[in-house]
């Protein structure tokens, strides 16, 4: 599992960490049943506060993506690829909407750039 964080970004770290784990899951880097690193280990190597990681894990647990259990740590419960399908569906919807307006490729890309 690989996650990338933007240190100077205005997005809070725990949001980025949760997004990183969701991304790893969507890319298939994580499988259902696999164990995430212990919050303490991740906090140590990321050089962030333990509670930042705990908050990210709690959010993922609330979304039903992982299971937090005493002694077993954080386990992935969602199937690999979760989230990817949703992004793909929305991308298709976006392209459909753009086509209906006769919006060309270049304009659509520029629009997406604006939002990013």
């Amino acid at each position: 599992m690989k996650i990338i964080l933007d240190a100077p970004s205005s997005v809070p770290l725990y949001v980025q960490i949760a997004a990183g784990v969701r991304g790893a899951l969507a890319r298939g880097e994580l499988e259902s049943g696999e164990r995430l690193p212990a919050a303490r280990s991740l906090a140590e190597v990321l050089d962030v506060n333990l509670h930042t990681v705990l908050r990210a894990y709690a959010e993922l647990r609330d979304e039903g993506l992982i299971d937090l259990r005493r002694g077993r740590g954080a386990t992935v419960v969602a199937p690999a690829g979760t989230g990817h399908a949703e992004v793909l569906a929305r991308a298709r919807a976006l392209v459909d909407a753009a086509r209906r307006l006769g919006m060309g490729r270049e304009r659509l890309f520029a629009l997406v750039e604006e939002v990013l």
Binding site: M1, K2, I3, I4, L5, D6, A7, P8, G20, R35, L36, P37, A38, S41, L42, E44, V45, L46, D47
Partner: protein, 319 residues
């Protein structure tokens, strides 16, 4: 200086092996007691000459072997220190039997009348051997040539941009340690039921427990460095801080090249450690003071890429 020490110090082993026998010869029975039961009473003997050779021959061999090692100049990193260590350990172990055996048999009428050798004496035999092994290994490290420079362009990179940080988590798994530990557990029960001494089944129990720890290793790397945790309890842990790390690579681990399976070597003593759970892909981390840590994990490329970007070893990408 270390080289000279490695070549000359083992002469002391030969002295330790010969002098007690020479001094005590007239006062020793023949055969002499050379094996003792757990409770300390002698229960085995060999002719005097054999017992002398048992101490002297390994001591001489050890001296010659270490002296030969000491004249080398260009050994591959990590090959000489363990060999020197094991040679010194074995030679000291055998040489050490001389004072022990002579003392126990001194003025005894026959082998059966020799003094008891208790567990404390065994410690006196093993401790110097371990120390000698460690000392030899440390001396021998100077004989190894430094690790070759790696081209930054060949190092894996995660493509991190300026201002970004990243973490990688992965693991290595193996099934054989669990099978081995299960066999060990069966052996523990068997020796318990057979009424064997606590040393036997206690030792088996310890060995089986330690073996379970080799079934899994969890590795996490990031801006804080590297953290490798062994076994189901996540202990012991090997740590390297970001400041200690020079660069990282993904390699193909052949267990034979790293001393076999399990936790091989020691970062502190030999400058090289390898956590080898299985042959195959592994992460190799080099420190700034030229020590090496190898861990068999899945996707070592990902781990190496993140590490190299974070320590600045790979060619930097613009932001």
């Amino acid at each position: 200086m270390r080289r000279r020490l490695l070549a000359l110090a083992p002469a002391a082993l030969v002295a330790v092996a010969i002098v007690p026998w020479a001094l005590g010869w007239a006062r020793l029975p023949d055969p002499v007691a050379t094996h003792w039961a757990f409770d300390g009473t002698p229960d085995g003997s060999t002719p005097r000459v054999v017992a002398v050779l048992l101490a002297v021959v390994p001591a001489v061999f050890g001296w010659v072997a270490l002296a030969r090692l000491a004249i080398r100049d260009d050994a591959a990193p990590g090959t000489v220190a363990p060999v020197a260590g094991v040679t010194a350990l074995l030679a000291t172990l055998f040489a050490g039997t001389a004072p022990l055996t002579v003392l126990a048999n001194l003025d005894a009428v026959a082998a059966g009348a020799a003094a008891g050798v208790g567990p404390l004496a065994v410690v006196g035999l093993i401790a110097p051997a371990l120390l000698a092994g460690l000392a030899a290994a440390r001396c021998a490290r100077v004989l190894e040539r430094p690790a070759s420079d790696v081209d930054a362009r060949d190092l894996p990179s995660a493509g991190l941009l300026v201002g970004q940080t990243a973490a990688w988590a992965g693991e290595g798994n193996a099934r054989w340690p669990l099978l081995l530990a299960a066999a060990g557990a069966v052996a523990v029960v068997a020796t318990l039921l057979a009424g064997e001494s606590g040393v036997v089944w206690g030792g088996l129990l310890l060995a089986s427990t330690v073996t379970v720890g080799l079934s899994r290793v969890e590795v996490v790397v990031g801006a804080g460095g590297l953290r490798a945790a062994l076994g189901p309890f996540g202990w012991p842990v090997v740590r390297l801080t970001r400041e200690q790390i020079s660069h990282a690579e993904a390699i193909e681990v052949v267990p034979a090249q790293w001393g076999g399976w399990g936790y091989r070597g020691s970062l502190r003593l030999f400058g090289r450690a390898a956590i080898v759970l299985r042959g195959g892909p592994g992460l190799k981390v080099s420190t700034v003071d030229e020590r090496i840590l190898v861990v068999t994990v899945e996707d070592p490329q990902g781990a190496a890429g993140v590490l190299n970007d974070l320590v600045g070893a790979s060619a930097p990408t613009g932001g």
